[in-house]
């Protein structure tokens, strides 16, 4: 078991290195760097000035060396200009050239400076991940139990009216992407002019102008049902349909198994058959899917956070990408890669625990 985790972790590190290198390569393409130079120094720079700016900021070094610097395994660049002033990767306003460490990269915990927010990347990332963490937590709390319940209820008696209604619901929600369902939900529940809010306001059932708030900005300071409901539902709906479909398929298959007949014929009641005999077997397949939903949530988070103006990880990613913020983009990619790989590892280990057949004998 330990060996397995060690080996998987090793593979994870390699994968993370490879993926971040790809992102590093893409964000460090020459046109990108020229744009960076112009946005950092002056928009009206000549080509020569751009070249010298790039040179003085260490961007002309070989790609691998720069990747190494970013990682923190290669000493950071230093540049001595005509006036003898030393600048460098690790030298900053609050760190003199002679006191600066040789290496400063991700390994040293230095993620660089965001060019959009003018703040350290680590600080921005920590804040936005905190916001997204709350969003994800609530999404999971809503999505997983609902999806499993729908899946189990529709799968335990295949072909009944309950099954058909729940399956239709599940298919409809999976078939609706977040940018569609989000807009629809805002219109129906969060608009002062359309949907049900004007009617409710007219009847005097709600004190404000809308039932739910169409923006989640206030949720960054205090989460309430009314400001957080819509973004959570928007992300959860999609996942609910997907996981419910998987659970249903797995549940219907389990219900036809012979050991379910065995249980029935030893006099176990239907409820007990579901809870004691079917559930654990039926959850083996959806468990992997639920774990795969975590990385998928990152995807949904990008759309929903932008839509509801909630300054979490997705919103930050969009800002970084839109404004050519190389350091922030790289950091975001590291987070994404880690989320994917760690959930995979958890899903593999959890699978072993759920399914005794592949347990170490």
């Amino acid at each position: 078991m330990l060996f397995f985790i060690l080996r998987r972790s090793g593979v994870m590190v390699l994968t993370a290195l490879a993926l971040t290198f790809v992102v590093f390569f893409m964000t460090n393409l020459t046109p990108n760097l020229e744009k960076l130079a112009k946005s950092e120094a002056s928009v009206r720079m000549s080509d020569d000035q751009v070249a010298s700016w790039l040179d003085s900021h260490g961007f002309t070094r070989p790609l691998l060396a720069r990747y190494g610097e970013w990682l923190g395994v290669v000493p950071g660049w230093t540049h001595t200009d005509a006036s003898g002033r030393v600048t460098g990767r690790c030298i900053g306003p609050d760190r003199a050239a002679d006191a600066a460490p040789a290496r400063c990269g991700v390994l040293q915990g230095e993620w660089g400076q965001s060019s959009v927010f003018k703040r350290p990347v680590s600080e921005i990332l920590a804040r936005s991940l905190g916001h997204t963490g709350w969003l994800m937590l609530w999404v999971m709390l809503v999505m997983v139990p609902t999806a499993l319940l729908i899946g189990v209820l529709s799968g335990m008696r295949e072909g009944t009216a309950t099954d058909r209604i729940l399956s239709t619901f599940a298919i409809a929600t999976t078939a609706t992407p977040e940018y569609v369902s989000g807009v629809i939900l805002i219109v129906v529940f969060g608009s002062a002019t359309a949907g049900i809010s004007p009617i409710l306001a007219e009847w005097g059932w709600i004190s404000g102008r809308t039932l739910f708030q169409g923006t989640a900005t206030s949720a960054m300071t205090k989460i309430t049902f009314w400001n957080f409901g819509l973004p959570v539902i928007t992300i959860a709906l999609y996942g609910i349909g997907y996981i419910a479909r998987m659970t249903r398929a797995s549940m219907t298959e389990v219900m036809t198994q012979q050991y379910i007949r065995t249980a029935r014929l030893k006099g176990v009641s239907f409820a007990q058959i579901i809870v004691k005999h079917a559930l654990r077997n039926a959850l083996i397949a959806p468990f992997t899917v639920i774990m795969l939903q975590f990385p998928w949530l990152l995807n949904g988070v990008v759309i929903v956070e932008t839509l509801f103006n909630y300054k979490g990880f997705g919103w930050t990613l969009v800002q970084a990408a839109g404004n050519n913020d190389i350091q922030l983009l790289l950091a975001c990619s590291v987070v994404a890669v880690l989320v994917v790989l760690v959930t995979q590892l958890i899903s593999d280990i959890g699978y072993v625990f759920l399914n005794p057949r592949i347990r170490l004998s």
């Binding site: 078991m1 060996f3 397995f4 080996r7 198994q257 012979q258 050991y259 007949r261 065995t262 249980a263 029935r264 014929l265 030893k266 006099g267 176990v268 009641s269 007990q272 004691k276 005999h277 654990r280 077997n281 083996i284 072993v352 759920l354 399914n355 005794p356 057949r357 592949i358 347990r359 170490l360 004998s361």
Partner: protein
Amino acid sequence: MTEWDTSKPILEIENLSISFFTRLREIPAVMDFSCSVMPGEAMGLVGESGCGKSTVALAVMRDLGRNGRITAGSIRFKGRDLTHMTEDDLRHIRGKEIAMIYQEPMASLNPAMRVGDQLAEVPMIHRGLSHADAMAQARQIISDVRLPDPDRILRAYPHQLSGGQQQRIVIAMALMAKPALLILDEPTTALDVTVEAGIVDLVKDLGRKYGTSMLFISHNLGLILDVCNRLCVMYSGEAVETGTVTEVFDRMRHPYTQALFRSIPLPGADKNARPLIAIPGNFPLPHERPRGCNFGPRCDYFEAGRCDAATVPMDLVPGSSRHETRCLRWRDIDWAAPPKAGRVTEKLAPGRLVLKLEDLKKYYSVSSGAFGGGAEKVVKANESLSFEARENETLAIVGESGCGKSTFAKVLMGLETATDGQIMLFDENVQDTPIQARNTDTVSKLQMVFQNPFDTLNPSMTVGRQIIRALEIFQKGTSDADRVERMLTLMDMVKLPRAFADRMPRQLSGGQKQRVGIARAFAGGAKIVVADEPVSALDVSVQAAVTDLLMDIQRENHTTLLFISHDLSIVRYLSDRVMVMYLGHVVEMGTTDQVFSPPYHPYTEALLSAVPIADTRVKKRRIVLEGDIPSAMNPPPGCPFQTRCRWKTEVPGDLCDTDLPPVKVMAGGHQIKCHLSDDILNGMEPVISMAADEARG
């Protein structure tokens, strides 16, 4: 509950009819079925697949699924009608009063639940016991079903047990509530014969110990003879004959029962002198049943205008104990008449040497551990196999699962290459040549007939096309027209109507599919055919026909047949020489007579004793092997069979524990791999003996 009057039947089924409803039509599965089981009695239900025997069992449990419905009749258990019970009442009967044992033990145990919890559930539901008390009872019952180390087993998951142990757990589960009636649905079909013998013994003993009545469903007449007091023969949804075991076995009064007995290989049958008599035709599909007697179209005694006039009722045979037959003409038939003499054929003399194996070894290395890694282990699937086979000869390879017989077939076919040793095929060394590297001629001369005809035909290609494809691959025929002609000739050879060439495999019955498989194997003029359990997936009445077909083709083409089987009855019937394998070793080899009569290898002795024989005259010595076959990953040191051998004490010292026995060549080239001295071997008594050979009445 009041005590049940033990003089009355515990289970009474009267005129039961069951139908399955599909969108298209109603499919009657069981019609007008009646039988009764007395307390302590074991009732057998025999019939071929699709005859409705399992449906009857499930109807007693009232578990017919959503499509199945009881359309008429009643099932009374201890006087109460089960057909009108509510789900709630049924739950109190299921598992408590009536318990069921299933065909596939692995599938019927919950894979994600510990064995102990599954067992303890029964008394917890039905007697309201606490978990601890229920576990204590489970521990008790596990030793009742003779499983070693109950504590370990209680904590185990089903996949950690062997097939035989799993079936014992299923039996234990059924016995947890001490039911009055036990329904066993083909409880040993998925198990090896020596394991089957143990299970059958256990079931009989437990039945006696607890006074449980049994409804024993099987297609194996020999098992029924072993276990049951009475039996009921079913054909196409109807009971055709019922009575005590001796009445039905010795004084059968229905043509189907008679035909069934004549089509199974009993001791005394011989492929040349007394061939089996296959039942002509096919089992009718439920919606294509004929008018009148269902068996009519396949019956030798059929009388037009009488047998196909109206539904045939059950008729009581006078002077018997409830012996009934569903035949109109049973009084007219001379039951003592010997079967019409079959075609008597000459035994073919073995021809030239076509296959020679010398010291063939096949090892696999596997890694243990659920997450990969772990120690590398060597599985010795085949250990020094040496034999030769000649033209015209049928060599049977016998052994239980895991003995290496299928590995041997793979190596011979070239699907695997040998680790060591030599295979001489005709004049060629092929041990290191995988099938891709063999030339077309070699491939077409060495072909295989597979066990499961249902999976080995391409479901989306017509039958004719598949045979033509084989001809193309074997480069037979000069043009497409020529190949079509050859294909039709092959269809004739396997006695399939030529019109079948345009059919899809799903439109064929199991026996017909196997005929296609045989035609495909012989498409390239095969000289050696490896038949891997070719009839074990088929019904009894079809087995005889397919076996005879193989024999006919062999006679015509002078083929060498390597017949891999675990069914000793059929091996005895058709093979010339027999090779018995155990854990990768050949433990005994000789002519059929030599192997089937003493001296035996101790394993062969046990194997012979384990095979159920459907003949009341046969007397068998009962030798039940303890334990399971050791894993090939971890074989015992010394003699592979030493862990289960009952003769081990006769060998001086610890020879069996330490040394692999040498091959002992007895009289007539009979080889036995055993440490026993010649005196002891020669002093062995036969396992099977016939009681005075009286003519069947």
